[in-house]
């Protein structure tokens, strides 16, 4: 670890990775909440047009990518709010148009696909001090509203109509969310790359939602997971000599894969224990001949037994009587 920190390029790489790992999952929390998990991917495509434009005009790629990506994001959101682009087709045209334009412009600039690839897949170890400064400024610009406006953004992204009846200007907040996502995408293009940035906005959030309960807890946990996998991926790729962006995403998916069984286990424990069952006097339901009876599976939403809501829990109809799951057994209701 000491020798890693001895290299200035690795110091910059680790800092850039750290910042990306904090920011991407933070804004990603709202993106996931709004069920726009693939928005980051599309915005990544749009940012490619910005990079192509910068290559064509011989200027720095990041500001151009930010400008083009933010413009594209606002256009998508305004069209969505006016009901003009009903998701799919409008987005597809914009996103693939961006990708094609970027590749085309970089080709005309004579740079070809090779020049683009460091932005497509990230190029952590070539981050310069100027790059790092830009990334740090953008990170602060994203993080302040993402955390400071968390209650408002939470309300807007979970229940937009209710948020409006709280006097929130939901269209402004929705535009803010996509603009922050667009800035994040360009910020992450040097670390994980434009093609994989969406994974860093979505996968740590999905893992965090499996690991903790509650929106704010998941926001913080997603940032922790994001930081762990980006720094871990940067360090790992130094020793393993692998592309850092890919390793970061694979690590994130690994954390998600581990969080899955954990969440299933916890969900089982958290299942509401039924209130004391009332004595049911119901002609259509018979009483058990033999209690407890053997039962091959655990009742749940997936089993084939009919569900009946009973007060605050669900009973499952089993051969003419009702089972209520209670801890590791069932009660007769």
């Amino acid at each position: 670890m000491i020798d890693i920190l001895g290299y200035p390029f690795m110091q910059r790489a680790l800092l850039a990775a750290l910042l990306t790992g904090v920011i991407a999952p933070a804004i990603g929390t709202y993106i996931v909440q709004r069920r726009l998990s693939l928005l980051g991917d599309g915005l990544g495509h749009v940012a490619i047009a910005g990079v192509g434009l910068a290559l064509l005009t011989g200027q720095a790629p990041v500001p151009w990518a930010v400008a083009v990506c933010v413009t594209g994001a606002v256009a998508v959101e305004v069209l969505r709010q006016r009901g003009k682009a009903t998701g799919d087709v409008g987005l597809a045209i914009l996103f693939y148009g961006g990708l094609a334009a970027g590749v085309l412009m970089s080709g005309i600039a004579g740079a070809g696909a090779a020049a683009l690839s460091q932005y497509l897949f990230g190029s952590l170890t070539t981050v310069t001090e100027t790059d790092l400064l830009v990334i740090a400024v953008l990170a602060v610009l994203v993080l302040v509203p993402t955390l400071g406006l968390a209650p408002q953004l939470f309300a807007v992204s979970t229940d937009e109509e209710f948020a409006r009846t709280q006097g929130l200007r939901t269209s402004a907040y929705n535009i803010a969310i996509v603009v922050l996502a667009a800035v994040t995408v360009t910020l992450a293009m040097r670390t994980v790359g434009l093609l994989l940035v969406s994974a860093l906005m979505v996968v740590p959030v999905a893992a965090a939602q499996n690991l903790v309960r509650g929106f704010y807890a998941a926001l913080v946990a997603a940032m922790a997971v994001g930081t762990t996998v980006t720094v871990g991926g940067a360090v790992g790729s130094f020793y393993l000599d692998t592309p850092p962006g890919a390793l970061i995403v694979v690590l994130a998916i690994g954390v998600f894969a581990l969080s899955w069984p954990y969440s299933a286990l916890i969900a089982r424990r958290r299942r509401v224990a039924p209130v004391l069952p009332e004595l049911v006097d119901d002609d259509t339901l018979t009483v058990h001949q033999k209690v407890p009876e053997e039962h091959p599976h655990r009742h749940g939403p997936d089993c084939e037994h009919a569900e009946i809501r009973h007060g605050d829990h669900i009973d499952y109809v089993h051969e003419g009587h009702r089972h209520a799951v209670h801890g590791d057994h069932y009660d007769e209701h």
Partner: protein, 269 residues
């Protein structure tokens, strides 16, 4: 029960005044020139079949749908310049999929946003209000539960707590009893009745009056985007038995002599 304030007394500004409101949805007229006034502390039920426009009426009254014609006035302010949103509590139709991964307390906290300034954290008062609202709906012990772990009836109570946590003067409920079993409907009626007695005005969209019957001061029956009957529940019930001109509105009304809730699909324990 203490006497409620006179909603039509002189000099009292109505809570909600809708005049000649017309709304188009997808180019089709859903509301055709509706007028409705709700006074302070008055509980009004909007009744009518599917597509009668009752949900559209409350949603456009809150500015969630644009009006094609007509005016909406909330607490004496035209809707466009109305900013005292903390005076309004809204309970939307319960969506089938609740917000992923939010706790009950987090959802209810959203109901304080009209009272909060941006970039300022929650105050002790906000937190106390959330606790009180959850206690009011009987979910005080579930504050930290994931809303997805709750039953449909409990989720409905969470939404009511969210609407009441800002201490509004007008509560708007859109089909709060749909898919909620009778026991939870009674809890809901009890909670709302207590607040109405304290001066809260209520507009409630209903398919079935059910346990809310004693609460309702006035019922307004909509059909095809127009008001076709208005009055106390008893009057409307009476007119529907004597007039054959509005037969299609009749089956939506609950008959007082019939045990409420039996036709709403809930299976009782």
């Amino acid at each position: 029960m203490p006497p409620r304030p006179d909603p039509t007394g002189p000099g009292v500004t109505p809570v909600l005044q809708v005049e000649d409101l017309s709304v188009l949805l997808g180019g089709l007229p859903v509301l055709r020139g509706i007028s409705l006034t709700v006074g302070v502390g008055e509980a009004v039920a909007l009744l009518g079949g599917n597509g009668s426009g009752k949900s559209t009426l409350v949603r456009s009254a809150l500015g969630l749908l644009p009006a094609e014609r007509g005016t909406v006035t909330l607490f004496g302010q035209p809707l466009a310049s109305f900013h005292s949103w903390s005076r309004v509590g809204y309970v939307p139709q319960r969506s089938t999929a609740p917000a992923s991964g939010a706790t009950v307390a987090e959802v209810v906290s959203s109901g304080r946003l009209a009272l909060r300034r941006i970039f300022f954290p929650r105050t002790a008062k906000d937190r106390a209000a959330v606790r009180d609202a959850l206690d009011l709906v009987g979910l005080g012990s579930r504050a930290k539960s994931d809303v997805r772990e709750l039953s449909g009836g409990q989720q409905q109570r969470v939404l009511i707590a969210r609407a009441l946590v800002g201490d509004p003067d007008l509560l708007v409920l859109d089909e709060p009893t749909a898919g909620v079993d009778l026991e939870h409907q009674r809890v809901l009626a009890d909670v709302v009745t207590r607040r109405v007695d304290a001066g809260l005005a209520v507009i409630v969209v209903l398919h079935e009056v059910g346990p809310l019957t004693p609460l309702i001061d006035r019922a307004v029956v909509l059909r095809d985007g127009r008001v076709v009957a208005q009055g106390s529940l008893a009057e409307i019930d009476h007119s529907r038995h004597t007039h054959v001109s509005h037969p299609s509105t009749g089956h939506e009304l609950s008959e007082p002599e019939r045990p409420p809730g039996l036709l709403d699909g809930a299976v009782e324990p």
